[in-house]
Amino acid sequence: MNQWEVFVNDVKELAEDTDLELTIRTLNPGLHKFTYKRVKCQVSTNLKKHVDQLQVRLGRGQLSNNRFSIQVLDEVQRMPAKYL
């Protein structure tokens, strides 16, 4: 199970059971904790629906009480190839 975190301005941005594109960061312990990935994913308020868990922070870093489970479907590479 992986732990992830996302920043949103409004929890409504996290529509359930639909494909979303989010920038999420890992909360897994280790040297890479808090590094980001851009992903396609689905989220659910049913914490058992997906294996991975998603924690939410709001615009100024406030931790939200809302919790989600998340399935990462794919990683999205937005960076232009010339910089890779």
């Binding site: 808090f34 590094t35 980001y36 870093g61």
Partner: protein, 482 residues
């Protein structure tokens, strides 16, 4: 006492004078180190030198490097007990001289080249990048550092302290505002051409190099370091681009800024004492090479409520640079001071009020200058008011600033997204507002019959009476006044 030439010499000098403490127990990079630095700032306590960091053997942290005037005095090679006016006078003396160009040293003489990571070995997570505040948008690589760039046409070098957040192992995002030197170069040159901009980030600088990176001076920063230190700064060529970086810095990150690609940055605890600027897609820094000293020390500035080095040093340098500007225009200023607790938002200017409109002239120059976006209040007092004494300044403000005639508001100026009072729209587009508090008696008032007389011990009693009372003060039964 000579000015410390490196972060290491500075730490040793601070420990020797009692202005830094060695923390030998292991400290967590996630929040704990940041919390120690924050508390040290709020207590004006000695700077923490954290020698053991969880997960990162061999690295250390030095926090709150310049968050007291004592440490600022040490950085200039002065007595730590030097007063603020003495430090300011010394800064003006050194920075009014001839520029002192840097010298280029060989790689073998540059400690920052002791370890070099390139290609697949580049991973920012190999450095002890701290999570400075709970709830920050990321781990911040650059909180007390210099981002080194060179203008592509003019060739002038810029060292700026643009905060940098680790986005992933090779990518950082940073707050580079459009009115900054780097922001102008990106928007004017690199973005229209779709070219990347070479950069280097130097972390763990000598305190004077950090001071130069923070100062809004027109003098190129490497020359300014030499002027402040009294000897040339030692620079060395980067591994992967043509930039030159401080040879004695602890850590160097080399790479390119991607002007046409942005990633999220923030939120972050800021010098205003709030987390204000929104999480936004901001400037992207791609890292291609990391070099660092053996047993490298990462510097941490923890911005928040007063007082930290962001407030203290910016207040110091903004005030003194404005004083230079106003004097260059022939305005009879007697001093300029920003109290750090204003989070460098209020400029207090002392002036001989010799002609009408002088306060407006000062405000227009101040707000219209390159320094202007960083503060939004100017208070002008006369030359008899001690600008360093808040009690006197506050009294002048509350009694001489006419509510209808003395307060002048300037709308739709340049601002920053960091202003806590700004509307969300203003933050997004760096729109500001400014205000002048004119605390001068109008020059068209009769000085004898219209200007009120200040009723104070110093002002209303004959000198002979003052001397007598002072001489007899303890005889009257009062304890001595320090």
């Amino acid at each position: 006492m000579a000015a410390p030439r490196s972060n290491r010499e500075f730490i040793e000098a601070c420990i020797k004078s009692g202005d830094a403490v060695r923390i030998k127990q292991e400290v967590d990079w996630e929040n704990e180190a940041g919390a120690i630095v924050r508390r040290a700032c709020e207590l004006a306590a000695p700077a923490p030198f954290m020698e053991r960091i969880k997960d990162y053997p061999g690295f250390s942290y030095f926090g709150a490097p310049l968050s007291t005037y004592r440490r600022m005095a040490i950085s200039l090679g002065m007595d730590p007990a030097a007063s603020l006016p003495e430090i300011g006078k010394e800064y003006l003396k050194r920075t009014n001289g001839e520029p002192v160009p840097p010298v280029l040293v060989d790689k073998k003489d540059a400690p920052c080249k002791e370890n070099i990571l390139k290609g697949a070995d580049v991973d920012l997570c190999k450095l002890p990048v701290p999570l400075v505040h709970e709830g920050d948008g990321g781990r911040y690589v650059g909180t007390w550092h210099a981002v080194v760039t060179k203008h592509p046409v003019r060739g002038d070098v810029n060292w700026g302290m643009y905060r940098q957040m680790m986005f992933d192992s090779r990518t950082m995002s940073g707050a580079v505002f459009p009115f900054s030197d780097l922001g102008k170069a990106l928007n004017d040159y690199y973005l229209p051409r779709g070219e990347s901009c070479p950069f280097a980030t130097a972390i763990g600088l000598s305190p004077l190099a950090a001071m130069a990176a923070c100062a809004p001076s027109p003098i190129p920063e490497p020359d300014l370091v030499g002027m402040l230190a009294g000897e040339p700064a030692r620079l060395v060529k980067c591994e992967t681009n043509d930039l030159e970086v401080p040879a004695d810095a602890e850590i160097i990150l080399e790479g390119e800024i991607c002007p046409d690609y942005k990633v999220e940055e923030g939120p972050f605890g800021e010098y205003t004492g709030y987390r204000t600027s929104p999480r936004e897609f901001r400037v992207t820094f791609r890292v291609n090479c990391i070099t660092f000293r053996n047993n490298a020390t990462m510097t941490i500035s923890n911005m928040g409520v007063p007082q930290d080095e962001g407030q203290l040093l910016r207040s110091f340098s903004l005030g003194l640079e404005l004083e230079k500007l106003l004097k260059s225009q022939g305005i009879p200023v007697t001093g300029v001071y920003m109290h750090p607790r204003s989070t460098h938002h209020m400029m207090i200017v002392g002036v001989k009020p010799t002609y009408s409109g002088i306060a407006q002239q000062i405000a227009q120059l101040a707000f219209g200058s390159k320094l202007g976006p960083w503060f939004h209040m100017v208070m002008v007092v006369d030359d008899k008011t001690d600008i360093y004494n808040w009690d006197e300044v506050y009294h002048a403000f509350c009694t001489r600033c006419h509510p209808a005639n003395g307060i002048h508001v300037y709308k739709n100026t340049t601002g920053t997204p960091l202003y806590p009072f700004a509307t969300p729209h203003e933050r997004k587009y760096s729109i500001g507002s400014k205000v002048l508090f004119d605390c001068l008696w109008p020059v068209d008032w009769d000085p004898v019959n219209d200007v009120p007389t200040l009723v104070s011990f110093k002002n209303v009693y004959p000198q002979a009476i003052q001397d007598k009372v002072l001489a007899n003060w303890t005889a009257y039964g009062y304890p001595p006044v320090k």
